[in-house]
Amino acid sequence: MAYVAPGETSLVPPAEVAEVDLYHAKSWITKYVFSQDAKVIAIQYAFTAIAIGLVALVLSWLMRLQLGFPDTFSIIEPSQYYQFITMHGMIMVIYLLTALFLGGFGNYLIPLMVGARDMVFPFVNMVSYWVYLLAVLVLIASFFVPGGPTGAGWTLYPPQSITAGTPGSEGGIVLMLVSLALFIVGFTMGGLNYVVTVLQARTRGMSLMRMPLTVWGIFIATILALLAFPALFVGAVMMTLDKLLGTSFFMPAMISLGEQLEYDGGNPLLFQHLFWFFGHPEVYIVALPAFGIVSDLISVHARRNIFGYRMMVWALVAIGALSFIVWAHHMYVSGMNPWFGFFFATTTLIIAIPTALKVYNWTLTLWKGNIQLTVPMLFAIGFIVTFLNGGITGLFLGNVVVDVPLSDTMFVVAHFHMVMGVAPLMVIFGAIYHWYPLITGRMYDEALGQIHFWVTFVGAYTIFLPIHYLGFLGVPRRYFEMGDTSFIPESAATLNAFVTVVALIVGFAQLVFFYNMARSYTKGKIAGRNPWKANSLEWQTEEFPPGHGNFGATLPLVYRWPYSYGVPGVAEDYLPQNVPPDEVVTDEGPGASGA
């Protein structure tokens, strides 16, 4: 059977898709502030997430200064250091990456890519953003309460998180828990939208298997989030009660700094199980959208169909399902029943198989392609490298005995920064460059983009590769300072100083990115329609950049998958999803319509 049969009549019935009640803004306020347009909500989400993410970035510099030059920066107190770690980790994972991928990219891309005018519940979608903003404000407020923000580590393990020996164990932790609960409520509202829009609002011809992998990644990640966040919610509510009402859900009989507390019988491990039942899927909530987006970046910029589309979809579904039965690999040395180790090590290494397949298929998409080394493509390659590296170290930590010496060392820090810090950030940058012309109608500055990529990629790899080896050595994570030990050589201090310097350089290099984005918004070259010659629907809108209601008078009809790049017999090397078969321009040569 032919891959495409230009001229053949389509089987798509010509009927119209029912128009939805589209929301129409009546004033400036409802258009740009309390807007129900998913594209505006997406921008709001993105700006808020990036703003709070910058706070986390600055915190990481302060931490790095302390680790690199422990004797120089006596301004940083141990309690502050632990607060910085906690807020940095929590902000990066939840308030930056989760919000940006789902609230930002999800809102912008889902309706456009599936051919819908908007999300299905625009009002709920708007409320989702405002609740998220409230969560962020509560989080920021915790910096200013007496005692400061919580310093319990982003895992918030009780009893420590709510007892006196930990910074922020009075106000800070409560605000943290409240903020998380708000985030979850807000996310659930948005998440309902993303899922139902994908299920129900696809345009005619957009079957599930014709959706771009970006949509698949965000879709599966949203399902994971909807099912996993309740676990964090449960843990947060019960911990709040332990703190405020003195219940003993997680709190055993214990002493706190010389005084008996009244708690009794609670189980700290129950919290850990709840936390990681959320926490592991959370890793994939960040990773799966990145997987999806990077697949599209690679395909478009290598001018080649994504290799093994079906395998890519199945792997997303399989990873999503498996991610609910691996959580206790974070608890191998937590004191839980050690026999669980067998089960969780096995499931964890099994999840590596579909993940590895995705890596193979990305590289196989480059294979036999026609690779344009644009900035998005560079970031996509950067993603593959860092994700490959981070995925491999995940195999170490998943294999239960190997985790025993490595858990809670710097190896863990290096691992998760590679796999869910740097790798998703590579995709975020790549995606922003890729869709910048769609959103603004202008091109970014290519040279600045290249500089930004090289400094960020080389820098990030240089920061995190050596840190693994400190972990092998036995350097613990979450240590204000190493002090004197018999097993850590002098050279480790030199390494730490070096890493700090690189981290600062990488951090400041981000200014290049912001400058590029800001300047190009007014000064950038006007991007023609569909500058990447991409196939998916977001580039095929009547108005460019897409306006209110996304598409013109009628919704597009979809005739094929979004990966028709280099189809034999077609004149151009791409073929948008909505070009009717009888309008496809073929090359006249023999065997033109491909058999």
Partner: protein, 291 residues
């Protein structure tokens, strides 16, 4: 071309760093050499994959770099190749996981004849307890902890009378004797780790956790807390001295027993510390406690 060189450089550089970096595991001092072996196996398997993927990518970027007018091959999938890759990956996973699970089985199965002793963690120091002449550790209760009875031993339990209590931060253990480490915390989570031993486990208030190992080399090693436990986490250190049996015995002799330390303090075991409700008001310790 820069990208091609960069990819090759990252691949080669990573391997070179691995080989030449001065930072690597400490010299092992316990029986857990198999853990190191499993790490080595994992390095070999994953290292091969890492290099293969990196070089393949470098090749693709070079061979299929953009040329105007060239067409990518249109090849939606290749089931056979994907099945092969799945199969090979599965083999790799099995090669890593199987030894891992065998070693884990050792790890969770404490050998007969392992000597028991207890590590007690509190913010931010370590203490230790040995079973004494009768070979049995006495029962404990957090509610019984007081200035006189810092371990919270149950004064009515005869097994506890001869328990040897070590409050300094130095722990001694005999060479070549398998030990089962019982871990107890009286406040928050901690984690007992000596990098040279390779084995660690969390201390969880309200329960007793354990792991086992056999010291195989004499020397003095650092004990560090490996689970965030508050502002003093990084100061929660100790030392463990591995020495010949005789030296160890001599050290143990010098440590006080529970009976002796109680006699010195001159009380029968104390009423516990002041009980503070989470609201802040003081309540008397006593009957209502559930255990």
């Amino acid at each position: 071309m820069v990208v091609v060189y960069a990819l090759i450089l990252v691949a080669v550089g990573t391997v070179a760093f691995h080989i030449f970096s001065p930072w690597w595991s400490t010299e092992i001092a316990s029986n857990w050499g198999y853990i190191d072996t499993t790490i080595d196996i994992t390095f070999w398997v994953t290292g091969v994959v890492f290099i293969a993927v990196m070089l393949f990518m470098a090749y693709c970027v070079w061979r299929y770099r953009y040329k105007a007018g060239r067409r990518a091959a249109y090849e939606p999938e290749n089931t056979k190749m994907e099945l092969w890759l799945t199969g090979l990956t599965t083999v790799g996973v099995i090669v890593m996981l199987t030894p891992g699970l065998f070693v884990w089985n050792d790890f969770v199965t404490v050998p007969e004849g392992a000597a028991e002793f207890e590590v007690m963690g509190q913010q931010w120091q370590w203490s230790y307890r040995f079973p004494g002449k009768d070979g049995v550790l006495g029962t404990t209760d957090v509610r019984k902890i007081s200035d006189e009875n810092p371990f919270g031993l149950n004064p009515d339990d005869p097994n506890g009378k001869d328990d040897v209590l070590v409050e300094g931060d130095e722990l001694h253990l005999p060479l070549d004797q398998p030990v089962k480490v019982l871990l107890r915390s009286i406040d928050v989570l901690h984690d007992f780790y000596v990098p040279e031993f390779r084995a660690k486990m969390d201390l969880v208030p309200g329960q007793v956790t354990y792991f086992w190992f056999t010291p195989i080399r004499t020397g003095t090693f650092d004990i560090l807390c490996f689970e965030l436990c508050g502002v003093g986490h990084h100061t929660m250190r100790g030392k463990v001295v591995i020495e010949e049996e005789s030296a160890y015995k001599a050290w143990l002799e010098k440590q006080p027993t529970f009976a002796k330390s109680m006699a010195k303090a001159g009380t029968g075991g104390g009423d516990g510390l002041k009980l503070v409700s989470s609201g802040g008001e003081a309540v008397t310790a006593g009957g209502e406690s559930a255990r």
